[in-house]
C-alpha cells in the first residue's frame, strides 16, 4: 500500500479535506496499532524547530524520530524526563519510534511517579482536525491557562482527534548520578509495601519497580553525595522488608523496566493502571499471569496465556486495563481499551464528532468499532 507523507501542514490539510475514507495515522509504526484505512505518515513532518536549553523547552515536528530528539537533548545534558518506553522489543515491531507517537499514546516510563506523565510535559500542540483545519493549543511556556487545555486532550488520544504536526515539550536536565537500591526475593505484597514506604519519604524516589520473583528496585537520581545520603536513609527505613544493596549507574536495569524486558516473548500482555496497594491482590485474581510492577504497584504489566480475558478475571476495580500485545482476534474480541462508563463514553463520542466529524482518524482505536457496531 502506498503511504501518504505530507511534508507541510497545508499539504496534510489538503489530503484530509480531499479524503473519501479513513486514515491509519502512522508515526514510526512501532506501537502496535493497525486499523483499516489509508496509511498517512508523519515521517516528512520532521525536525526540531526550536530548542532553548536555558528555558527547558523543545519545539519539534511530530514525525521526528525519538533517537534524533534524544541525541539533540543529550548534547545539552538534558532529556525527556517522562522516560517514554520503546515498544519494539515487547511487540516485535520494527521502525523508528517518533515523538508524535509517544505523545499520541501518552507513553510514560518509571519516572512518571516523580515527574509526571508525558502529558505533563506537553506544553503545546499544533494539529489538523477532521475538517482540514490547522489548529493550535497551548504554547511553549511552562505555565499556560489561556483557554481550554486541549494539549492534555490531544496527548493520549491515539490520533483519534486530529493529526498532530508540531509539539512543544518541557525538557529536564539529566541527573548527575543515579543509584538503585535492590532487594531480592520479596513477595509481591512485601515489594509493593516497601516501594510505597520509599515513596512516602522526603527522599525523592524516581523509580519504584518490582519484577515478580525477581528484583525489587528503588531509584535515586541527583548529585552524587545526595544520592549516597538518600540511599543510606532509605536502606534504614526499608530494612524491615529485606536487605537493600546500592548499585550505581544501572541504567540498563531501568531500561528493562521501562520496556518490560521480563515479559518479552509469547503470550498476551496487558497494562493495568491501579491503586498501588490493590496491585498484588489484582494480579492474584488472574491465573497463569506473570507480572512486572512499576510505579510502586500503580502500573502492572501482566503477561497471560493467549486469549485470557483479564478484565473479566479482575472484576470491578479502580483503574483500567489495556490490551497491549495479542493477536488481532483477541484484540477484537476483548477490546484494546477498557470500556468507559456511559456518561464518559457519550462525552468522548461527542468530542470525536466535533474534532473528526467524518470519522477519518484511526477509526476503532480507543472506542471499539466492534463494540459500537455490536451496540
Amino acid at each position: 500500500m502506498t503511504m501518504m507523507c505530507p511534508d507541510t501542514e497545508d499539504a496534510l490539510a489538503g489530503m484530509i479535506t480531499a479524503a473519501d475514507g479513513p486514515f491509519q495515522i502512522v508515526g514510526g509504526g512501532t506501537r502496535g496499532f493497525t486499523v483499516q484505512g489509508a496509511a498517512l505518515s508523519t515521517a516528512a513532518l520532521s525536525g526540531i524547530s526550536l530548542y532553548e536549553p536555558g528555558a527547558m523547552t523543545l519545539v519539534v515536528r511530530a514525525g521526528t524520530p525519538m533517537a534524533e530528539v534524544d541525541a539533540a537533548l543529550a548534547v545539552e545534558g538534558q532529556r525527556l524526563a517522562f522516560e517514554p518506553m520503546d515498544h519494539r522489543a515487547v511487540l516485535g515491531t520494527t521502525g523508528e519510534p517518533t515523538i508524535g507517537g509517544a505523545v499520541a499514546a501518552n507513553v510514560s516510563g518509571p519516572r512518571r511517579i516523580q515527574v509526571g506523565a508525558c502529558r505533563d510535559f506537553l506544553l503545546g500542540v499544533r494539529f489538523v482536525d477532521g475538517q482540514g483545519r490547522v489548529l493550535k493549543n497551548g504554547g511553549r511556556v511552562m505555565k499556560n491557562v489561556t483557554g481550554y487545555d486541549l494539549v492534555k486532550l490531544m496527548a493520549g488520544s491515539y490520533g483519534t482527534l486530529g493529526v498532530m504536526t508540531e509539539l512543544s515539550l518541557k525538557v529536564m536536565p539529566v541527573a548527575r548520578s543515579m543509584g538503585t537500591l535492590v532487594a531480592e526475593g520479596l513477595s509481591d505484597a512485601a515489594a509493593v509495601q516497601a516501594l510505597s514506604a520509599a515513596l512516602g519519604t522526603p527522599f525523592d524516589v524516581s523509580g519504584a519497580a518490582h519484577v515478580q520473583g525477581g528484583r525489587t528496585m528503588v531509584r535515586l537520581e541527583g548529585f552524587a553525595a545526595s544520592v549516597a545520603y538518600r540511599a543510606a536513609a532509605l536502606q534504614a527505613i526499608l530494612a524491615p522488608f529485606g536487605a537493600w544493596a546500592l548499585e550505581m549507574d544501572n541504567a540498563q536495569d531501568w531500561q528493562n523496566v521501562r520496556d518490560v524486558a521480563a515479559l518479552h516473548g509469547d503470550g498476551d500482555l496487558w497494562r493495568l493502571s491501579v491503586k498501588p496497594s490493590d496491585a498484588p491482590g489484582l494480579v492474584a485474581r488472574v491465573s497463569g499471569a506473570r507480572a512486572v510492577y512499576d510505579w510502586a504497584g500503580g502500573l502492572i504489566w501482566l503477561a497471560v496465556p493467549e486469549g485470557t480475558d483479564v478484565r473479566t478475571a479482575l472484576g470491578v476495580f479502580g483503574g483500567h486495563a489495556t490490551l497491549i500485545r495479542a493477536d488481532i482476534g483477541t484484540k477484537q474480541r476483548l477490546g484494546v481499551f477498557q470500556p468507559q462508563p456511559a456518561p464518559l463514553a457519550a462525552i468522548e463520542a461527542g468530542l470525536r464528532a466535533r474534532f473528526d466529524p467524518r470519522g477519518l482518524f484511526n477509526p476503532g482505536v480507543m472506542h471499539s468499532a466492534v463494540q459500537e457496531k455490536a451496540g
Binding site: 511552562m142 510505597s196 483500567h320 462508563p341
Partner: protein, 479 residues
C-alpha cells in the same frame, strides 16, 4: 468590560426559580434576598460587580446535581464559585444567574498515605488540604498565593499554580481524579486513586476549564512527603539581562530549585518602604530556593552561588538560619501588599519564554512611561510567569480604563514574545476579549465546540473565557 444583558424572562421568574431550588436544598442553602446576594456580586476582580439572581450553597454532590438539573430544565445560567478569590472575574455573576457556591462542601473524605493521595470535597481551601495531612509529614504541593482562602474547586477551574511549581507542577499535574456534575445533573467520576485516567484525558480537559464544562464536587489530590528542609539565597544584579542570564545558567547547570523569584527595582523599593526586608536597591533581585537535607542544600547552593558570582552580582546573601530565610522571603511575600499601599493595582500574569525576559521588561518600562502609570514586576522567573502590577487610582475618572489598556498592551507583548495571556490566574472576563489576539478564530471555535459537548445549552458560566462576539451565536441559539 461588557457582560450580556440579563434575560428578562428569567428575572421575571425569580420567585418560581427560588422556590424550586428551595425544594431540593436544605433550609438556609438558598439566598435570594437582594441585601444578601450582594455578598456574591464580585470575586477578586472587584472592579466589576453584579448581584446574582440567587445563590445556592449545597452540602452534597446530590444537591449540586439537583440544582444543575433544575437550572438546566429552567434554562437558568449557573456560575460556579469556590471562595471567590479569582483575579480574573471567573466567578463574576450575571443578574440572571444562580451562583453555585461550594463553600459548604469542605470535608476530607479519605486520606491514604500508602497510595499518597487525599480525597476532599472541592470547597475545602487549598491550605487546609495540606493542614489535613501535615501532621503526618505530607503536603499538597500547588501553593497559589491566595492559598489561605482559595478553594480546591477554584484551583481546578483555573488550574492554579504557585511559587513552587517549578519543581512540583501546577494543579493539573497534582490532580488524580474528580467527581464531576454535568449541567444536566449527571454525576460522573474521572480518574481516582490510580494514575492516568483511562480513555481521553477528560481530567486534563476539565482542569483549567474555568467552570464552563461541569462542577467539581470532590477531588483526589496527590500528596507528597515534605522535604527535609529548604533554604533560599538572595542575589542582586544591576541589570535584568544579567539576572535573566543567571536564571538560564542555573537551569542549564542541572540544579532544579523549587522556586526562582524575580523582583525589579520599582517593586524592591515599594517593598522596602513597606516591609523593610533589607533588600539591596538594585535593578533585579532573585530569590532562589532549594530543598533537601542540610548537606544537599549546601551542595546545590554552592553550584548556584558559583553561577551567580560569575555574573558579578551587587549582592549575594545566603541564609544560615530560619530567621534569615524568613527575612529573604519577607519582601517577596509582602510585594502585593506593598504595591497595594501605593494605590489601586491590577495584577497580570502573562507568561513568556525565559529567554525573552530582558526584552519584555524593557518594553514594559517604555509602556509605563507612555501610559504614565507606574508598574512593578515580581514574578516566577524559572517558568517565565510574569506578574506586572500596574498602579492606578480607582477614584480618578478614566484611570481604570487607562490601566486596562496598558495591561492589554503588556499581555499582547507577552503573546508577541512567544508566550501567553495568562499563566495561572485564568481568562475569566479579564482577558476574555484578548483571546482572539492569542488564538485564531478556528482555535477558539474548537474550544467552544468542546463546551458544546459538555453544556449544549451554554448555561454554565457562559459569558467567560471566549470573546462575547465569538460565543454570541451559541449563547443566543441556546436561549
Amino acid at each position: 468590560m461588557q457582560m450580556p444583558t440579563p434575560d428578562p424572562t428569567i428575572l421575571a421568574r425569580k420567585d418560581e426559580i427560588v422556590r424550586q431550588l428551595g425544594q431540593v436544598l436544605p433550609k438556609g442553602a438558598v439566598i435570594s434576598d437582594v441585601s444578601e446576594t450582594r455578598a456574591y456580586e464580585c470575586d477578586g476582580l472587584s472592579a466589576y460587580r453584579c448581584p446574582p439572581l440567587a445563590v445556592v450553597l449545597p452540602t452534597t454532590t446530590q444537591q449540586v446535581s439537583d440544582v444543575m438539573r433544575l437550572c438546566h430544565a429552567m434554562g437558568v445560567p449557573v456560575v460556579p464559585r469556590g471562595s471567590g478569590t479569582s483575579l480574573a472575574g471567573g466567578a463574576l455573576p450575571t443578574g440572571d444567574c444562580v451562583i453555585l457556591g461550594v463553600a459548604r462542601l469542605n470535608a476530607v473524605l479519605e486520606t491514604d498515605y500508602d497510595n499518597r493521595f487525599v480525597r476532599v470535597q472541592s470547597g475545602r481551601t487549598n491550605l487546609s488540604v495540606t493542614g489535613a495531612v501535615e501532621e503526618d509529614g505530607f503536603f499538597y504541593a500547588p501553593d497559589p498565593s491566595s492559598q489561605l482562602a482559595c478553594a480546591i474547586a477554584g484551583n481546578i477551574a483555573m488550574n492554579s499554580g504557585g511559587a513552587h511549581c517549578l519543581k512540583y507542577g501546577v494543579t493539573t499535574n497534582n490532580l488524580m481524579g474528580v467527581t464531576l456534575v454535568l449541567m444536566d445533573g449527571t454525576v460522573t467520576e474521572l480518574g481516582g486513586a490510580h494514575l492516568d485516567a483511562g480513555g481521553l484525558d477528560l481530567l486534563g480537559l476539565i482542569c483549567g476549564s474555568e467552570g464552563q464544562l461541569g462542577v467539581v464536587t470532590e477531588a483526589t489530590l496527590r500528596i507528597l512527603h515534605k522535604p527535609e528542609g529548604a533554604r533560599p539565597v538572595l542575589i542582586g544584579y544591576d541589570s535584568s539581562e544579567v539576572a535573566g542570564a543567571c536564571v538560564s545558567d542555573i537551569i542549564k547547570a542541572g540544579v532544579l530549585p523549587v522556586a526562582i523569584e524575580f523582583m525589579d527595582r520599582p517593586c524592591i523599593r515599594a517593598t522596602e518602604a513597606f516591609a523593610a526586608a533589607g533588600y539591596p536597591d538594585c535593578e533585579a533581585l532573585l530569590i532562589v530556593e532549594v530543598e533537601g537535607s542540610p548537606a544537599e542544600i549546601d551542595e546545590q547552593l554552592e553550584i548556584i552561588l558559583d553561577i551567580a558570582r560569575r555574573h558579578d552580582p551587587v549582592e549575594l546573601r545566603e541564609s544560615t538560619s530560619a530567621e534569615e530565610s524568613a527575612r529573604i522571603w519577607l519582601g517577596r511575600k509582602s510585594a502585593f501588599g506593598a504595591m497595594g499601599q501605593m494605590g489601586d493595582y491590577m495584577c497580570l500574569d502573562g507568561t513568556i519564554p525565559v529567554s525573552e525576559l530582558p526584552f519584555v521588561l524593557r518594553r514594559i518600562g517604555e509602556l509605563s512611561a507612555e501610559y504614565g502609570l507606574k508598574v512593578g514586576n515580581v514574578f516566577h522567573a524559572g517558568d517565565g510567569n510574569m506578574h506586572p502590577l500596574i498602579l492606578y487610582d480607582a477614584n480618578k475618572p478614566g484611570d481604570l480604563e487607562l490601566c486596562e489598556a496598558f495591561g492589554a498592551e503588556i499581555l499582547k507583548l507577552c503573546v508577541d514574545a512567544g508566550g501567553c495571556l495568562t499563566g495561572e490566574h485564568g481568562v475569566g472576563i479579564e482577558k476574555r476579549d484578548l483571546m482572539s489576539y492569542q488564538y485564531a478564530p478556528e482555535d477558539l471555535e474548537i474550544q467552544m465546540a468542546v463546551k458544546d459537548v459538555f453544556d449544549p445549552k451554554w448555561l454554565l458560566n457562559p459569558a467567560k473565557v471566549f470573546p462575547l462576539e465569538n460565543s454570541a451565536a451559541r449563547r443566543i441559539a441556546a436561549e
